[in-house]
């Protein structure tokens, strides 16, 4: 054993696996909106596209970027999570995840809601890594806002 229990808690196997498998990796065409986010602490970036089913459902996300295993795993996990999910549910999950990250290890996360993302709960004890885990989630949040803006503008134009 080469890492402490705390370190194993941070880098759970499911995280290391997601960091390798990178679900959703590779930008795909036909996105409703996209967002590019940068982590100023490290200079890492993620570009995330949101693909809508109808206006009220996220069909999927596609993403690219370079980052640490935490941010990569987080993007991969997010990709699994928002597969064909009504947008209010997406928003709920983003909020729940943010709360988990800010909890400083005081909560475990709702596995029903967050699925594999609860494996990232250990990150909340590492103040310098929270931004890593949040990066793709913030990107999704922004992309959704942009999608709303675009829809709003279209709607306006159609009127």
């Amino acid at each position: 054993m080469t890492g402490s229990a705390a370190l194993q808690g941070l880098y759970q196997q499911v995280i290391l696996d997601h960091a390798k498998e990178k679900h959703g990796f590779g930008l795909r065409d036909g996105a409703a909106a996209s967002s590019h986010q940068l982590n100023p602490t490290c200079g890492d970036e993620v570009t995330l596209r949101v693909h809508l089913g109808d206006a009220d459902t996220v069909a999927s996300i596609s993403w690219e970027g370079q980052g640490c295993s935490i941010s990569t795993a987080s993007a991969s996990i997010l990709s699994d999570l928002v597969d064909d999910l009504p947008r209010p549910d997406v928003r709920l999950r983003i909020e729940a995840f943010r709360e988990l990250m800010q909890s400083k290890g005081t909560i475990d996360g709702d596995e029903e809601l967050l699925e594999d993302a609860v494996a990232l709960s250990g990150v909340s004890r590492y103040v310098t890594r929270i931004k890593c885990a949040m990066l793709p989630w913030v990107a999704l949040e922004h992309a959704l806002l942009e999608a709303d803006g675009a829809l709003g503008a279209e709607a306006g134009a159609a009127r």
């Binding site: 490290c42 200079g43 310098t128």
Partner: protein, 443 residues
């Protein structure tokens, strides 16, 4: 308004919080936190009456600074390791503390070396905007020929020269609001000067020579009517009275740590959030960027955008402790005590023959300082005489030459008090000042 009764260690003052002034007993107790006050000068017990220049520092502040250095030294906002994370948290908590002390949010507070650097930051930010830096979002700061910057005749050089230089760099014109004989601003003149061309008004909250408090609300109202920015020099108010910059509704404000129980080497700039976010960078380099290409760079949002290079971390921690100390004692009670001391000083000195005190008279709003002229004796000789008795006062122009010129003098002697100043010290100073003219044969 009394401050809350929650008193944090190691502050020793725990008297009735409904009293809005310290008592002599309170002051005696808190003096134990300032061991330097026990020293002698020229064989006499020190009477430190130069807090307007720089304040003494309580043990709690020195301890906080040392503890940080001893246990937490690490690079902030640059490292990912545990110690860097701890140091960063401590550093940002210090920002939140100091911001809260002056009534603003943490992300509206930029660390500087001193108040002077804060004022230069604004002035250079405006120059840079005027050169097109910051693009459209900084356009609101652009100034040039035909635009006017307004200051007052009582400003400290640090709130005058940077604006002169900004005027030189941009072609804008500097306008100056004059003073009445009692030192107050000529508000009618202000109303004439502040007009459509005015882009910025820079004014001190409390004069470091006259001790008076400027009518910030009136100036802000005039500025708002014409869409000008207001920069407040809070150097002499932040240490001595409860300050709510948001309530004062100014756009920018600066303060210096060393005047408010903190160490040298640290000050702060407050900027209204949307202004700070729009101002182009001043100092550039590490830690204020997001992306650096060889030919150009992108910058972080405020406050990081204005904090280039390794920051004064242990000083920020110490300044935060200083504000905690001040709050625990209670800013209103400090202000009450200093007002009384100021009145005592004024009354004592004014009663002496051949002495002229600058600024408003007895009973008017003043902080605990008095600047005066001794007929027939140069200020430096006055200071030397007092120094011989261990009484440390400031002599000279106090970085306010135009103010002195306005009153037809080149130098004054200034005695300035703080929360640790006693009535006995003020009385000792008055007595000594009373002996000056005889010593120099000026009677």
């Amino acid at each position: 308004m009394p401050t809350p009764t929650t008193v944090m260690p190691p502050v020793p003052v725990r008297t009735d919080a409904t009293v809005t002034t310290l008592t002599s007993a309170d002051v005696e107790r808190l003096r134990a936190d300032f061991p330097i006050l026990e020293r002698t000068v020229n064989g006499s017990p020190l009477v430190y009456l130069d807090s307007g220049a720089t304040s003494q520092k309580p043990l709690a502040v020195l301890d906080a600074e040392r503890a940080f250095a001893l246990h937490e030294t690490a690079a902030v906002h640059r490292g990912a390791h545990t110690m860097a994370g701890e140091a960063t948290e401590t550093f940002e908590a210090a920002r939140a503390q100091v911001a809260g002390f002056v009534g603003v949010d943490a992300d509206e507070l930029v660390w500087t070396s001193n108040a002077t650097e804060g004022l230069n930051l604004i002035a250079y930010g405006i120059s840079n905007a005027s050169l097109g830096r910051g693009g459209d979002s900084s356009a609101r700061f652009r100034i040039g020929a035909g635009d006017e910057i307004v200051v007052t005749e009582m400003e400290h050089h640090s709130n005058l020269v940077p604006w002169q230089e900004l005027a030189f760099r941009t072609g804008a014109t500097l306008r100056v609001i004059g003073l009445q004989d009692d030192g107050h601003l000529k508000l009618d003149e202000a109303a004439e000067i502040i007009g459509a061309r005015t882009r910025l008004i820079a004014v001190t909250h409390v004069s470091n020579v006259l001790g008076l408090v400027n009518p910030v609300e009136d100036l802000v109202a005039m500025a708002r009517r014409v869409g000008a920015l207001v920069v407040l020099d809070a150097c002499q108010s932040a240490p001595h009275m409860a300050l709510d910059l948001r309530a004062l509704d100014v756009d920018f404000a600066v303060l210096s740590g060393h005047k408010m129980l903190g160490p040298t080497g640290i000050g702060a700039l407050y900027g209204r959030r949307e202004l700070l976010d729009a101002l182009p960078p001043f100092l550039t380099g590490g830690s204020m960027i997001t992306t650096v290409q060889l030919d150009h760079s992108e910058f972080l949002p405020a406050p990081a955008r204005f904090e280039a290079g390794t920051q004064r971390v242990s000083q920020a921690v110490a300044l935060a402790e200083a504000t905690r100390y001040l709050s625990a004692v209670g800013m209103d009670r400090i202000a009450g005590w200093e007002f009384a001391l100021g009145q005592r000083l004024l009354e004592g000195i004014a009663a002496l023959p051949g002495i002229r005190v600058l600024g408003p008279g007895l009973g008017e709003e003043r902080v605990g300082l008095a600047s005066f002229v001794v007929e027939g004796v140069h200020a430096h000789d006055v200071g030397q005489f007092l120094d011989d008795r261990g009484i440390e006062v400031r002599v000279g122009h106090h970085c306010a030459q135009p103010l002195h010129r306005r009153f037809g003098i080149t130098a004054t002697t200034r005695a300035s008090a703080y929360l640790y100043t006693t009535e006995d010290e003020v009385d000792a100073a008055i007595a000594a000042i009373g002996d000056v003219r005889a010593f120099f044969g000026a009677v």
